[in-house]
Structure formats: structure tokens, C-alpha cells
Assembly symmetry: C2
Homo-oligomer: 490 residues x 2
């Protein structure tokens, strides 16, 4: 056995254990009895402790020194293991334990403060989390920029400054489009009615099937916040049902099918190696978004969906497939990121990115966060935040220490824009297929050009090679202008 | 921190990890996508490897040497950890790995041979498993009896010779009762009809609730072979549905509720310690059996069940609650252990015990096993085995290396007989409660006298203290004679 083989054998077991830990998380959010929370938290802690020990095992350093990778896949494997080992080794065990402890409690504090509409109850906790995250960032950054070090965990290879330039370039066109839309004279009609639970689930399954979800390697359950979970042979999706709003269930489902299909689409030779998972959160989000938005909310697929829903719910309050398409893509003012549309979503992200970057850099104090949030929201959205749960308390992310995570949502949209342009060129018959409930030609193109590579290529190189173009915001912005220009007759 | 504290902290994490491994097994049998088997097998192997390393960690030996346990619970904890550590350390890693590999393949060979009705296809594999198990037994026995060493894993503290004496004492009365029953003039009527899946599940939930199953710490799912799984705050049951035979579903459910309630009934202070699980398979089976048989198949509870089933299925082919009680307890000739009744079940076990003891001792060759099985079956049951799937190929146990496991089923019945006699004395109103679908007074007595102690007392001492009597077969045999004497008017 060479050092590389030893390294891979060790890594293989670590990957298997980390997949077990992920499955435990799935269990907790879907099927776990409600009385089992303390036990599950001990089980998760035990798994994390085993995983941390393995990730910082000094033998990894020795194997890495002696490894002689040959193929590009081997070279990249060594690169990814080195990266993880370096990051894990830089964080002192004391800090890792303290972060785990504090963030696990902070999530409860956040939920309570949100329920009480009382940001002051939560801000001291957030300050605590922020201090620990700055300490972690300093350990990881090794003299470099603190925010970059955190961002690198979710979207390797991009810097805060690059993201800022990208967002600055996008903002004016998005703001202008948003204003034109909200001033339009003939807005789409909203879908209204009562849409029974079981029928929604049946349609959600049909949508997942239409998007090629492999049921032999997955399943669908109900969760409070939809998510996907797992890799290789077992990637499961969840959805939720709101009986007044079937789009919530159906488009959550298609979104999670995008995430899961990415994991299931990776070359099976990469299973149990660091190449065997989605390469970044941004690329992951590009898959969920292109399934959900560019394919799922397009005129072609919504035509198919209109017929299905019309049958399933014994008629709809919108007259025809055109009106239905417009109602799927309705843009209305709103405070909540997760409820927003393709146009406004990125504006929600941009303000969070600026605020969290200032927090990590020490340019903004937690005590000034509410004022900063509300001021920025008024400036970007033209509305005053009415209550904290609609403002600074709406997202769980910061409470659990996820600083540097938000921008990956918008990066996903940008990547999806690039991929959509290339995919439409390469697959001219896609809309025809989507119109009969068949996303397979698009899915196939994405599998071939993005998904199967797993972690082989760094995120932006992956997108650039798939699209044969530089990664930039224009394809997304052009797509939005064109799509919403037509819908709103701008 | 004392050595005992260090030992306990280490053990706590091992217990949490072993609970994770068990949850993974539950997932595999209930909700896992069918395409995920290879991945799951790698995940299980990784968990087993971590657990094996922890169970044989040399620090355990050092802590044990230095530990100064004080309370009875601490003394017993050290005793149980010592026992596990000694057993785990005696098995060479090579043998453990080989056994895991061979038994995992053997299960597939067994299933195929059973489907093909071809014992010859399976016997070479079984011979292989047997050789490895003899090797394992020799390592564990350290000069003692091979079969005892294996039996000790499932029912600590009892020997093969003791089991043989017990079974020899039981056999004549069981054989006589069986012959009288099968010769009786007025046998009970069988329940017949079509019993829809969803209605059975609804009734199964009602039965589980009647037996005090704690739904906040459990759940019920469908599995091919019903089982229960998990401990402390999370012990789940499974059931199955045969639409022509509702007793299969309902009594499987009550049986598994017995197992799960044992785990959930253990003193919560014992969670994550070796005291925090059922003390032996025999005691475990005593709980499932007393729930299922002595309470669940008694005249009182079946009266309640008759009304529920009569309503749920719009009438039944049996006339009244008395006829229903008799049909629940019908005894018919049959080849299959798992389908047999309270009277014949132990006879099935006794022949397996004798055969496997001879196999392990080297007194019986695998090549002679079919003949030995068929000869013994004819002798004990008066019928020739018609095909291998009804004979030597019916049980999975030996293929996966479970030698010494079978007798614990019959020991469970014996313990249940002892416990039932004591419980009836202590809880005179039990039948009145059962007649209105309330098993709580019996469950409460079992929780107080058996379940809450977890691993604190060795199996037979636990039963002896709970019943204030020596453990013996008479209470079970008296109960069977009395119950079936009435039903069959003997």
C-alpha cells in the first residue's frame, strides 16, 4: 500500500462516518420522536467528536507528505484533503467545542426572541457567537482577511471583495427591474383556493419524477423547513405543505430535487472520496435554482403543471396556462427572503452580505445591527420593516454561526444564469420536452457538464468549462429582464 | 476526574455511537431507498470499526484496574464493562473481520438456497460460518465449553447444561398437552376474511396505546420482519400487514411494544451506561411474550379486541367474544417456528437448541444436518418435513452466526410464566383493566419489578427478585395446561 492508498482508505471511512452523521440529521428533522432531542444531541456530539479526531489525525499529515498523486483526480483529492486537514488543524479543540456549545444554545435563543419579537433578548447571544466566529476566522485566515476565511468554507476560492464587485455590478439592474415590475399596470393574478394536503403531495411526487428524481436512491418526507440530505446511493428530499399555497410545496420539491440530483449525479467512482460531493454551496444552489426557476417556472413546464393542477384540484381560479404562468412568477413587495421571487431574492442576499461582512470586520457592532438592517431595508426595498420577525430576526443562519453562507445563494443564481444560457444553446428541444413534463434533456445536460464532476474542478472553473464562458452576472440579468419584461409588459 | 469517571465518560460516547449504529439498522429495514445497500454496508462497517476500536481500547484496561466503584450500580457497571472488554479483546481482529465478511455473504446464500429449496447450495457456506464460530467460541471460552461461551453473549450466566436440564423437564408436559390439543373434538374456529391494510394499522396503533407504548419516544413503521430498535428516549417498533390474517399484525405489534417498553422503562439515570439496556435476550423476550401472550391473548383483552375488530371490519365470521378468544389461541400442526402458538413454540426451540449444541461441539456434521433436522422433527411433531424451506432452511439465524441465540426465546417464555404468576397475585384487578383495553396495571408492575432495573441485576436474579421465587418452568407449564385445557375442553 502506498501512502496515497493509506490516505484514501482512511478518508473512505471518514466519508462513510460523515454520511452517517448526515443521515442522523435527516432522521431528526423528519421521523424522530419528539421526546428524543437530548439523546440525539449526545449522539450527534459523539459522532462529531469521532469525526473531529479523524480529521485532525496526525497520520493524515504524514500520508499527505509522502503521497505521490498521479492522475488529475488524485491530485485534486490530495488538494481537497490537504485543505480540510489544514482548516481542521488550525481550529483549537477548545474553540471548536465552545462554538458547538454556544451555537446549539443560540439557535434556541434566536427562536424564542423571534417568537417574542424581541431582538434585545437575542443580541447578547449573537455577540457571543460573533466573537467566537471572529476567533475562528482569525485562526483559519492565518494573517489574511477574516471574512474571506469563513466564506472559503462554503465557496472555496472566492473572496469577499470579488463577491462585493459582482453584487455591485448586479444591483442597479435588479433595482430598476424591481421598480418597473412593482409599477406595472397589469400585474398577474394570484392563485387562490384550498389545496388539500394529499393532492399536493401527489403532485409534488409527479414534479420530482418529471425532473428525473431517482426514487430508487431517494425518498420524500415532510419537514418544517424543506432540505435535501445524503449522497451517492441515498439522497433524500423533504417538502412542506401549506394548503392555501400549493406553489410552496411544488417548487420546494423541485428545488430539493435539484440539490439531491446533483449528489446522485456524481460519478460513482468518486463515492466515499472528497470528490464525491457537490463542490460548493454556490454550485449546489445553481442546480436547485436552475431546476426550480429556469426550468420549473418557465412557460413550458408551467403549461404542463397547469393541466395537472387543473385536473387535480377540480379547476383553478386562473383562466388558462398563460395566466397560470404569470401567477407562478408574481412579484409582490415582502420582507421575507425565503418567500421572495427570482428578481428580489438577490437584493435580500446583498444586504445580508454587506451587514455580515461589516460585523466580521468589526466595522459594525451587534448593538447597531437592528438600525443598520432597518435602514438598509428601507433604502433597498422602499419599505420600513414592520416587526423584528420580518427583519433582523427572520433567518436562523447567524445564530448557528453561518457567516459567509448567505452570498452562496446569490452566487448560485448567477451560476444558474450562466448554465441556463449554455444549456438552452446546447439543448434546443428543451422547452418542447418541458411542455410535456419531461425535464430529462436539461437534467442530462447538467449531469454531463456539472453534476458528474463532483469535487473534481473548483467552482468557477467548473461553471466556466460547462458554459465555455467567463462566469459573470449578465446571463442571469438578461434572463430576468427578458422573462419579467414579457410577464409585466415592460 | 477519577479513573471510574474517565471510564464512564469514554463508555458514554461508545454507548451513543452504538445507538447510532442501531438507528442505522432501523433506517435500513424501514425507510432506506432500495438502491442504497452497498453504501449502507460501508457505513455500517465504518461504525463497527470505530466501535470495535473503542471496545478494545487499552485505556479501558487501565481505567478498570484503577477504578474504585462504590455503589452497587457502580460495581455492576464495572462488571459489565469488564465483561465486554474481556470478550472483545479475546477475539482477534482478523477473526472479527472474517466473521463479519462471511456472515454478511452467508445471509444472501441462505436466502437464495431457501428460495431454490436447495439445502446443498447452502451447507458449504454454513460449514464455513460454523468453523469460524467454533474458532470464536474457543477464543471466548478460554478453555471452557464452546457452546457456553456463545450462549453467554445472549443470556449471560446460564450454561448449555442448565438449559438442557430445563428443556428436558419441560418437554414431556408440552408434548402431552400438544397431543391432547390436536386430538380434541371441538377445535376453535379460524378467523377468516379480508382485513384491509389501513384498518389493521389503525387497530395496531390502538393496541400499542392500550399497552402503554410511549409515542413521544417511539414510532411505528412497516418492516418485512417486525422488530424493535433503540433505547432511552427513542425506541421504535415495526409491524407488518397480511390482509388475510389480522392477528399477525396486531400481535406482532403488541410483541414489539413489549420489547420497546422494556428499553423505555429503564431508569433514565442509566442512559448511556451499560446498565441502560435490557440485561439479556431472555429477559427481553419475557417482556415481549408477557405483553403478547399472557396479557394480549388472554380472555380479558381479547374481549376488548373483539369489539374493536367487529366494529372496524363490519362484523367477523366468529360469533362472539368467546369464540373469538378461542380462535386467537388456535393450535394447528405446522412446520414454521415463527407461525407457531404458545404450546408448540418451545418444542421448535428445543430441537434447534439440541442441533446447534451438537454442531458447535462437533458431535454433528453440517453434512448430516438435514437428516438430523428431519428425523428430529418427525419424532417431536409426528410429521415429515415436506420441503427444506419448511425445515432446516426456515430460519436466518445460523447463516448470520447466531448460535446460542435460539434458547433465549424459550427462556423468555419461562421467565414470562414466572412473572405472570407473580403479577397476577400482585395485581388482582388486571383482567378487569385488560377487558377495557387498559394494560397499564400490568405494565406498571413489570416496569417497577423488571424494566426499570435495566442491566443492574443478572437475568435470573432479576426474575427471582421480581417474583420472589426460584426461576423454573412450572408456572409456564401450569398456565399453558390451565389455559389450553379450558379452550380445548381437555
Amino acid at each position: 500500500m502506498s501512502a496515497f492508498d493509506d490516505l484514501l482508505a482512511f478518508q473512505r471511512q471518514t466519508e462513510a462516518l460523515s454520511s452517517v452523521a448526515e443521515r442522523l440529521g435527516w432522521d431528526q428533522e423528519t421521523v424522530m420522536p419528539r421526546g428524543a432531542t437530548e439523546q440525539r444531541s449526545e449522539e450527534m456530539a459523539a459522532m462529531e467528536s469521532v469525526l473531529h479526531e479523524r480529521r485532525t489525525d496526525p497520520r493524515i499529515g504524514e500520508w499527505l507528505d509522502a503521497a505521490k498523486p498521479e492522475t488529475p483526480a488524485e491530485v485534486r483529492t490530495v488538494e481537497l484533503i490537504t485543505r480540510d486537514f489544514t482548516r481542521s488543524s488550525r481550529i483549537p479543540a477548545r474553540l471548536a467545542a465552545e462554538l458547538a456549545r454556544v451555537t446549539s444554545l443560540a439557535q434556541g435563543d434566536w427562536a424564542e426572541a423571534r417568537a417574542n419579537e424581541a431582538p434585545d433578548e437575542f443580541l447578547p447571544t449573537l455577540d457571543n457567537v460573533l466573537m467566537l466566529k471572529r476567533e475562528e476566522a482569525a485562526a483559519l485566515a492565518d494573517g489574511g482577511d477574516l471574512y474571506d476565511a469563513l466564506l472559503d468554507d462554503y465557496e472555496p476560492g472566492i473572496t469577499g471583495a470579488e463577491v462585493a464587485r459582482l453584487f455591485d455590478a448586479m444591483r442597479p439592474r435588479l433595482v430598476a427591474l424591481r421598480e418597473n415590475i412593482l409599477g406595472a399596470e397589469n400585474p398577474p393574478q394570484a392563485l387562490k383556493g384550498h389545496f388539500p394536503h394529499d393532492t399536493q403531495i401527489r403532485l409534488a411526487r409527479a414534479c420530482a419524477t418529471a425532473f428525473g428524481y431517482d426514487w430508487s436512491r431517494g425518498r420524500m418526507d415532510i419537514a418544517v423547513h424543506p432540505f435535501s440530505s445524503g449522497r451517492w446511493q441515498d439522497s433524500r428530499i423533504t417538502t412542506r405543505v401549506v394548503e392555501t399555497d400549493p406553489f410552496n410545496c411544488l417548487y420546494s420539491t423541485i428545488h430539493e430535487v435539484g440539490h439531491s440530483s446533483y449528489e446522485l449525479g456524481i460519478d460513482e467512482d468518486y463515492a466515499f472520496t472528497p470528490l464525491g460531493r457537490g463542490v460548493s454551496l454556490g454550485v449546489h444552489e445553481s442546480q436547485s435554482r436552475i431546476y426550480e426557476n429556469q426550468m420549473g417556472r418557465g412557460r413550458a413546464f408551467t403549461g404542463w403543471l397547469f393541466d395537472r393542477m387543473h385536473d387535480a384540484f377540480d379547476g383553478l381560479n386562473v383562466a388558462d396556462a398563460d395566466a397560470f404562468y404569470r401567477s407562478v412568477n408574481r412579484v409582490t413587495p415582502g420582507y421575507i427572503r425565503t418567500e421572495s421571487d427570482e428578481v428580489q431574492y438577490n437584493l435580500h442576499i446583498m444586504m445580508r452580505f454587506d451587514l455580515e461582512r461589516d460585523l466580521i470586520a468589526g466595522r459594525l457592532d451587534v448593538t447597531d445591527l437592528v438600525e443598520a438592517w432597518n435602514g438598509r431595508f428601507l433604502k433597498d426595498f422602499g419599505v420600513s420593516v414592520d416587526r423584528p420577525a420580518n427583519g433582523v430576526l427572520q433567518d436562523v443562519h447567524w445564530s448557528v454561526g453561518l457567516f459567509g453562507y448567505f452570498p452562496t445563494y446569490a452566487l448560485g443564481n448567477v451560476y444558474a444564469g450562466c448554465l441556463n444560457a449554455a444549456m438552452r444553446n446546447a439543448v434546443p428541444g428543451l422547452d418542447e420536452a418541458l411542455a410535456s413534463g419531461e425535464a430529462e434533456p436539461g437534467v442530462e445536460w447538467l449531469r454531463e457538464n456539472v453534476q458528474r464532476h463532483g469535487g473534481l474542478l473548483p467552482p468557477r472553473r467548473l461553471i466556466a468549462e460547462a458554459t465555455d464562458a467567463e462566469v459573470g452576472p449578465e446571463p442571469l440579468l438578461d434572463y430576468l429582464d427578458e422573462k419579467f419584461g414579457r410577464i409585466y409588459e415592460l
